[in-house]
Amino acid sequence: MRQRMDTADCFVVEGKLALPYTYFAGRVGSKFITTIRDQKKILGVRCNHCNKVFVPPRQTCAICMEELQNNWVELQNTGEVTNFTVVRYNDKHLPRTAPFILAMIKLGGADTPMVHILEGILPEKVRIGLKVKPVFAQETTNTILDIDHFEPI
């Protein structure tokens, strides 16, 4: 096929797609968020079958398919970093300006880690096993950012 070299008419159209949407947190998700917001407590749910405690809470155990929504467990407000990454690019959907740390944090009493922002430590100093605690947001937004971030103890 002939290579078309004539690019005189080529140009680029810039657009901005706005997508309005509604997010419903559900009963389980709503209780998780409102408890963080009002009581500064982080809740998980326990599966009575496999005895695992999930956080963020979920309605059904992914392993046993058991209903979990009423098995609320209050977790400790301390945990440890089980993994982390350093975000080194900026994008408007990101919660902080780069570089910042996103860590997987396993709270005391939980069997699964939750992802959140880790502050108060340099990216090169973070280690797996670091003990951290949540810092709750002053101004709440009904999102997971009602925990503003975690910081080392």
């Binding site: 002939r2 078309r4 080529c10 159209v13 657009g15 797609l17 997508l19």
Partner: protein, 396 residues
Amino acid sequence: MSAYFGVKVEDIFATMPERFRPEGAEGISASYGYNIHGEGKWKLTVKDGKMKIGKADDLSGCATVTTTDGETFVGINLGKVDAMKAFSSGKFKVEGDFGALAKTAKMFRKYIPPQKEMSTREYILDMFATLEKRFQPKKAEGLDVTVGYDIGGEDGGKWTAVIRKGECLLKEGILGTPTVTLKVQSAADWVALMLGKIDALSLLSAGKAAITGEAPLALKLGEIFAPYVPPGEKAKEPEQELIVLRKTISVNQRFATGPVMGKFLNGLKEKKILANQCPQCKRLQLPPREVCAVCRVEATQWVEVGPKGHLAVNEIVYYASPDPLTGETRETPYGSIHVLLDGCKGNETFTHLLRPDQIFKVKETWQEEKGSRLRPVWAERRTGSIHDIKFFELDE
């Protein structure tokens, strides 16, 4: 005989004569059998605007025989069970003429369970009978107290709740001097208070109730005992706050035109509508594409068409989805049109918009008859976009 949703199967059948509507049974002469598992068999006979219902062992000769369980039967009659769902899941079976059974719905008024109003005395007795059950040991940890209840009036009585070592025992009469005693002049006020119809403060301030002894303990009673729930009612769970977030995400997009679409869009800038033509089948493509969709050969020839044409199709849109480039939603209704521009034929129509105030004034192409003559309205500032044509309007 069990009750389902507080109603017995028998109640439904026994009330049939009083719920019968002769006008709904006009011209119907049939028998209907009901076989309710574990409850028995009933036969309904309808003739000359009269009905007869009764237990029967033999259901032969019935136009239909309905077989179901008590819960489904009562549930459907009360509107608590969806009949179609019960039918499709096999819980509700019908043998015989289904259409005939459907007619019975018009023959009877809906069954309404009798509302049993409890008397004040019944409430008082039930409230104290359930007190021990409503005791919450967790909230009474370490408590060693007695609570006296002195409910006045004919329906009242005296009771003492002994709370000790995480247990609660209710005794009749006032035992010694309770740690705290609640005295209410009228039993009706106590019932209203327990049902949440009045609050304690207004009773106290009106002098209709009094607290003697350790008043702070009286305030804790609401925690020590779970709220009273009348029989047959479900405990109300406090309304949970449900979180709903409304957001708009904004996504940056870039669209590279390529040489073919680029030439078409640049043409619009100069008020030219350009189609490209297949060298083999000679059909026009508008908007142009690199390859002929039919012959799959490169379409290299360019032809200027229009700019005027005849309306082929006018679709009136009442529900607009957001514009992918701006996220804005067009005002509805609008006319999404297909115009056969001069120089095009057959299906070589061009899709655009119609001037909003003319969407009901135009005429579409119909068989041999051509649609309304339209002309494009060009934007003042043209950037090489499909919106360089604002819309088409009647060429008058």
